[in-house]
Amino acid sequence: MTSAESPSVDPRLIAVGPALAAGALVLRAIGVPAAAALPAVALTVLVPGYLLTLALVRRHSLTSEERAMFVIGLGFAATILLGLAIHLSPFALTAWSWALALAAVWVAGILALRPAATELALPTLAYVPAANLAMAGGGALLFLAAFVVAREGFHAQPRPGFTELWLLPSVERGVPVVEIGVRAAEGQTMSYEVQVTGAEGQVMRMSLPPLDHGEIWTRTLPLASLPTGDLIVDLLIEGGVYRRVTLSGDENEVDNVVTPGEAPGLE
């Protein structure tokens, strides 16, 4: 089909790609990602695939399953290569770059292909009796129910509770400190005590406020307030040691603190 024979392009058709991009971005921005999935999938897979399939259909007759295969397959292929192109461009792979690039692909593709209305017509579906539709719909509901059961089963799986205790040296405003932290994940509210022990014996012992499942307690202590030498921090439940962390003597010298992420070089 030459351009002289081409029909004029309906502006509404040109607007489809940008509208899908805008729709996805707006739905994302207002916090409904599930609703954004529809325009986003249409944009990332169907838009480039549809355009390429349209170009193929003009020269070759395709069955309906071939069209469906090419829309998805060519859509995947084109989007993968478009991602590479964005990576090689000065732009980062972000929501905006994807939206602009895919909308531009649509506009350019439609202007180049100038599809006629007949080419855009959806295939007519065979009449399907209502009983069959109802049965298939029931099947779809069962799939949904299966997913809900599987998720509930996952969350209801018995898992042993646990509590995390940590002891991290760091530097705050130039002052060497240690952070003692506790995170409860026992599935119930827990009462703990923390006991700090140095070479000379117990340094301090404190009761923690009750911690719910997932709750965190932390306390930062200046290192200078603690004795030198090995330091042991125990988390106690009803007086018994439940968790233990340690700081080796070398680490516990004020001038010798190595903070996380600052590994000393190898000698």
Binding site: A40, L81, F147, F162, T163, L168, R183, R244
Partner: protein, 622 residues
Amino acid sequence: MNYAPPRTLSPSRPDESAGREPWWSVPGSAFALACASAGVGSLLIAVAFTISRQGQWGGVVFWIGFAYIVVPIFVMLCSAGLRRGDRIGLLLLLGLSLFFIKVLNDPVHFSHYDELIHWRTANDILLTGALFNPNPILSVSPQYPGLEILTTAIVNLTGLSIFASGLIVLTLSRVLLILGLFVFFSRLGASERVAGLGVAVYAGSPGFVFFDSQFAYESLAIPLALVALSLVAALRQGRPRPVLALTAALVLAALVVTHHSTSYALLGIFGLWTASSLVLRRPPEETRVLAVNTASFGLMIVGWMLVAAPETMTYLWPIVSSRTQELLNVLTGQSVFRPAFQTYTGEIAPMPERFVAMGAALIVTVAIGIGAWRVYREWRYSAAVGALTLLALALPANFVLRFVSTLSEVANRFANVAYIGVGLVVALALVWLLARPRYVGRPVPLVVAVLVVLTAGGVQMGWGPTFRVMPGEYRVSADAHSVERQGLSAARWAHERLGPDNRITADRINRLLLGSYGRQDAVTKTDDGDLLSPIFFATSLDTAERFLIAQGEIDYVLVDRRLNQELPVVGVYFEEGELNSFNHRIPIGLANLNKFGRTPQVSRIYDGGDISIYDVRRIALR
């Protein structure tokens, strides 16, 4: 497409159901019934998984649910009178329902080994806005980012999680796989029924239910390969088709960017196809198109490796050489065959499951023989069918590879590609059987039984016995069974409190969690390739272990005391090549794991119960 319609690959005699009007000839009837049945099956499987998560045995319910999904579909696919739309609908239902089993197994997050590798790659793309970020768990993964590009595009445009977006991509990939198989078989001249049964046979490949349903590059690459095969099948005939050639090049380029092994496998198929075309003296134009396609695809692969994926050979070569060496060891008697149907923990698959797996191997071998004979009788001049038959004939040898410990995974990967040929060849055998009721009495139940055994056997061969398929309590070094709250929590703690990219070593599973959710530089080897596992197996941290820690520039060591509970399910605690790799007789000692707490200058900075993290930077200085 504008080429002479190929000769139809169908039985020379009409089958017994031809001419009848089965009740499912009403539009949508077959699909509706199968959809309802598959829905019941999926619900039963979800219940089975839930029972299993509660510590009870859900295996029987699982297999009943499985039968609800596949049996009605297989029965109807045997009919020649099925409407085309219904047949394709049934095939899509089959593919998606079996994919859904994997979703029901992991309904909240990705938890399989390969999935977390690709999750890390996708997450890095989201964080940096760029491709090719280093991945400490599998360095080659970011160099084949096709799956992650698609997934992160959807994440970016929707705000959905990587898990949800990944499921969308995987669902569409499964649709593409089914359509690709059907279209490719049809393009080669298969009748609707042969093409449909070919897809059903492919569902019996070892990776169909679980491995190729994972969030991993092969799950996307095989469907893309099938689109490429369909395009080349159309391209080879008649006059030049520039648009078609460009489209094929586009798909092949995307495949090259997506997965190395599938690209090589497809290159091999193209090579076989070209060679068959030469041997069969096909029209020169056809052979030329195939040769040009094969050569240009080979150049694309090499070009990508040189320009963007230099790690490929570093990654693949050790695998190829070690597997070859092990095979040679077995063949020369220096090593022994792995006991069949037995895990590395010594658990043996139940007798019925062993029968199903062996039955599947036997049936598919016999069916390939019958199908190959049919190809020779009726289709010996088709280069494509000849190439696929050769591919199918390699499958029985593949079964032998399963008895060599590290080759079983390679065998599965090869089988997932070989089944493209197996699907067509076995379908020809099945249709031949359906046309001969006087030989076998009632051919439809027989064919349905064969297909059920093939699909159930595929699950067994690809993913192991049912007790490995079912979710449940924590197991040691057992991939998804080892991914649980303590490990996830420790990984997240490391990210939040230690910051990203610390050098940290751990067992196989915790390294995976630290490298993905923890965003740590989680390693099991030094940069020189020396394994770090000796520091775990040693009874104390002496000079050699301290040297390894220094050489590996290790900041932290994560120790999971649960490793002492049992032997590693996948054969290794840390990394292939470790002490007693794939041959552990007793669990790693608790004293070996606890030694870090007794070592001067080592601080235990984190205690989560079973999991501890030690700061070893001081001893690395020595």
